[in-house]
C-alpha cells in the first residue's frame, strides 16, 4: 500500500520529467528511510503509537515515546522515516553536535532524550543478522553502522566519542526489494544496553539519514572482548592511478580475522579495501593527487583495533593511458541553434574519485551556457566541468551526471579526462 502511494508522488516527478529527460538523467528520485530492524527510535515509537491507539492515531504507551511526543508532537512519528539532513554531504561529525546524534534537526530533537526506557531490540552478540532499512525508492549510497563503546551510558547524551571508531558494518548500494533494503551483518561482541547508530549517506545528493536503534546484546561467542592491537603504519608505493600498501600485522588474544583500509576524506573516511592479508592495492585513484590511508584490524567477533598511523602518498603524474572512467554524452533536448547537453561520468575503478574535474575538447562552433549539478567553463578550446558540493565525489562503481545548455552543433565532444586520467 505504501509502495503504491510512494509511486504516486514519484509520478509527480516523472510528470515533470516528461517535459525533458533531465530529471531522470540527473538521478533525481525520492527516498526517505530509517532502520526497521533493529528498530530505530522513531520507528519503534511509531509502532508503539499505532498499537496504543488501536489504529487511526498515534498514542504511544512507552514512557520515552510519550515524552518525545509531548515535546516534539506526533509528526516525527508519522514521518518516522524522515530523520535527515539535506545538506550533510558526509560532514556528519562537523554539523551534528554531541547530544544531537539521534535527532539532528528540531523536528526530531526529542529523540535525543537520554533515557533508558526507549523500546529495545534484543540481539545475540557476535551473531549474523539481517538488517532491514525502509526505503521508498532505490537510491545509491553507503550505510555505516556503528555501535556504542563498552561502558556506554544511555542515560547520558549520546556523543560521537561514545561510538566505536570504525563501523562494525558498512554496505554500499544494497539491493532494494519490496520497499526496503536488507543485508546481512555480523554483530559486534557487546554486552548489555547499547545503541546501533546508522548513517545512510546518499552519493547522488548531499542528503543523509540518521537512526538510533536501542538494543540489548545477550549471549555471545564466549566473552572475547579484547580488541586487536593497532596495525603497523602502512608503507606505500604509488602508481599514477593506484597505491600499494603493506603493514605489519596486529596481534590479538584469539586472532585477527580481517583488516580494513580507509582513505582519509574529511569528517567521514572511506573504506577502500578489506581482507585478511597485510597488503592491499587501492586502484581508481587520480594521478598527481595526495592521499592518506590507514588500517584497522578486526577479530572474529567484531572487536576493532585502534587505527594505525596514517601514511601520506602522492600518486604519479598521469601517463595518458585510459583511466578508470567512462563518459556518456547525450542531448535530451535540441532546438534551433541550441541544445541541452547531459554528461554522465562513471567511476569504473575500485576507489572513490574525489573533487572530480572533467575536461574535454570543445567541438567547433559549440558554446556552453547555464549548467546544473556542476559548473562548466571553457578556455583555450577545452571545457572544464566540476561537481557541485553534493556530487563532487564519485564512489567506486558509481556515476554522477551534470548538464548544461549549449549553442551550436550537437557534435559529441571527445578527449574526456577525469582528474587528469583519460577516460575509456
Amino acid at each position: 500500500m505504501r509502495l503504491k502511494r510512494f509511486g504516486a508522488l514519484a509520478l509527480a516527478a516523472l510528470g515533470v520529467a516528461g517535459v525533458t529527460t533531465v530529471l531522470v538523467q540527473t538521478g533525481v528520485a525520492v527516498a526517505h528511510g530509517s532502520m526497521t530492524y533493529p528498530a530505530s527510535r522513531t520507528y519503534a515509537c511509531y509502532e508503539d503509537g499505532r498499537r496504543g491507539s488501536g489504529g487511526g492515531d498515534l498514542l504511544p504507551t512507552n514512557p520515552a515515546c510519550k515524552e518525545a511526543v509531548a515535546i516534539g508532537g506526533k509528526q516525527p512519528l508519522w514521518d518516522w522515516y524522515g530523520n535527515l539532513i539535506s545538506q550533510a554531504a558526509g560532514k556528519h561529525r562537523e554539523i551534528i553536535a554531541d547530544g544531537d546524534l539521534c535527532g539532528p534537526t528540531t523536528k526530531y530533537d526529542a529523540y535525543n532524550l537520554a533515557r533508558d526506557d526507549w523500546p529495545t531490540t534484543t540481539l545475540r552478540a557476535g551473531s549474523t543478522i539481517t538488517l532491514h532499512y525502509n526505503a521508498w525508492a532505490p537510491h545509491p549510497g553507503t550505510w555505516d553502522q556503528y555501535v556504542t563503546r563498552d561502558g556506554f551510558d544511555v542515560t547520558k547524551p549520546l556523543k560521537w566519542s561514545d561510538l566505536e571508531p570504525a563501523p562494525f558494518n558498512s554496505i554500499t548500494n544494497p539491493v532494494a526489494s519490496g520497499g526496503e533494503y536488507a543485508w546481512q551483518a555480523t554483530l559486534p561482541n557487546k554486552s548489555g544496553r547499547h545503541i546501533i547508530y546508522s548513517i545512510w549517506q546518499r552519493n547522488d545528493s548531499p542528503e543523509a539519514f540518521y537512526s538510533c536503534s536501542d538494543v540489548i546484546f545477550e549471549g555471545g561467542s564466549g566473552g572475547d572482548t579484547q580488541a586487536p592491537t593497532a596495525p603497523g603504519a602502512p608503507t606505500a608505493t604509488a602508481g599514477s592511478n593506484s597505491v600499494s600498501l603493506s603493514w605489519t600485522a596486529s596481534s590479538d588474544n584469539v586472532g585477527v580475522s580481517s583488516y580494513q583500509v580507509f582513505r582519509e576524506a574529511g569528517a567521514t573516511d572511506v573504506q577502500v579495501a578489506s581482507g585478511s592479508g597485510t597488503t592491499a592495492t587501492i586502484t581508481g585513484l587520480s594521478p598527481a593527487t595526495a592521499y592518506q590511508f590507514y588500517v584497522v584490524a578486526r577479530d572474529a567477533v567484531g572487536n576493532t583495533s585502534p587505527p594505525s598511523a596514517a601514511v601520506s602518498v602522492t600518486t604519479q603524474p598521469g601517463s595518458g593511458e585510459p583511466g578508470a572512467c567512462t563518459v556518456t554524452w547525450g542531448t535530451p533536448s535540441v532546438w534551433t541553434g541550441g541544445f541541452t547537453g547531459n554528461v554522465t561520468i562513471k567511476n569504473t575503478g575500485t576507489a572513490a574519485v574525489s573533487n572530480w574535474e572533467l575536461v574535454w575538447d570543445v567541438p567547433a562552433g559549440q558554446t556552453y551556457g547555464q549548467a546544473w549539478s556542476g559548473t562548466v567553463t571553457v578556455s583555450g578550446g577545452k571545457a572544464t566541468a566540476k561537481g557541485a558540493d553534493w556530487n563532487r565525489n564519485i564512489a567506486a562503481g558509481a556515476s554522477t551526471s551534470f548538464g548544461f545548455n549549449g549553442t551550436g552543433p550537437t557534435t559529441a565532444p571527445t578527449g574526456f579526462t577525469l582528474n587528469g586520467a583519460r577516460c575509456a
Binding site: 504516486a8 514519484a10 509527480a12 515533470v16 534537526t105 528540531t106 523536528k107 533536448s333 557541485a388
Partner: protein, 180 residues
C-alpha cells in the same frame, strides 16, 4: 518563455515554477498558484500526485499536537486553516494554509526565535503560494520551496531562489534532494 521554462526545468524547478513569471510581486506570490483553502491544496496535491486520500479538516489544537509545542508557537499564530490527507508515504500529510497578510510576521517571528536560540533550524515545511505542505518527499518537484531565514547565503547547490516576504528570508529550492 520556452527558453526560460527549459532553464528552470533544468534546475529541477517544477511545472508550477514555470508559470511563476505569470504571478506578480515577490514572496510566496511568485511561488505558483495561490491556494486559499485546505480543500484547494488537497485538490492541487491530488492533481499533481494522483492522490491525496481522505482529506480531513483539522483544528488548530490538532495542529499543535501534530508539530509539538515549540513549533506550534512559531507556526500556529499564522495558520489560517489546515487539513491532512494521505499521499505518498505520508499517512498524515499536513495541508497548511497561512494567513497571507501575516506571512512577513511569521518569518520575522521565526528569525527572532533563531536569533534568540529558541530554535536552531529554518521552517521545515515545503512552501507554496500562501500555503505549505508538512512533508518533504518529492515535494520540491512540485515546485515547493524551503524557507530560509538565516544570514547564510544559499549553498551552490541551490536552485530557484527568490526573496520571501520578510527581509532576510528567502525561498529556495535545492537540486536532487528533499527539504527537511
Amino acid at each position: 518563455m520556452f527558453a526560460r521554462c527549459v532553464a528552470l526545468v533544468a534546475l529541477l524547478v517544477g511545472s508550477v515554477a514555470c508559470s511563476a513569471s505569470d504571478s506578480t510581486g515577490l514572496g510566496s506570490g511568485a511561488l505558483g498558484p495561490p491556494l486559499g483553502s485546505p480543500a484547494e491544496v488537497a485538490a492541487w496535491v491530488e492533481e499533481k500526485t494522483g492522490e491525496c486520500d481522505d482529506p480531513t479538516d483539522r483544528t488548530i489544537e490538532e495542529f499543535a499536537e501534530f508539530v509539538g509545542p515549540l513549533r506550534a508557537t512559531l507556526y500556529a499564530p499564522y495558520v489560517d486553516r489546515w487539513a491532512t490527507c494521505k499521499a505518498g508515504p505520508y499517512e498524515r500529510l499536513g495541508l497548511v494554509v497561512f494567513q497571507r497578510e501575516k506571512l512577513a510576521d511569521f518569518q520575522r517571528s521565526w528569525q527572532e526565535a533563531m536569533k534568540a536560540g529558541q530554535i536552531s533550524d529554518n521552517p521545515d515545511f515545503g512552501f507554496g503560494n500562501g500555503f505549505a505542505l508538512s512533508g518533504t518527499i518529492g515535494l520540491e518537484l512540485l515546485g515547493l520551496h524551503q524557507l530560509t531565514c538565516t544570514s547564510t547565503p544559499p549553498p551552490p547547490s541551490a536552485g530557484h531562489t527568490l526573496p520571501a516576504e520578510a527581509p532576510g528570508c528567502t525561498y529556495v529550492q535545492f537540486e536532487g534532494h528533499h527539504h527537511h
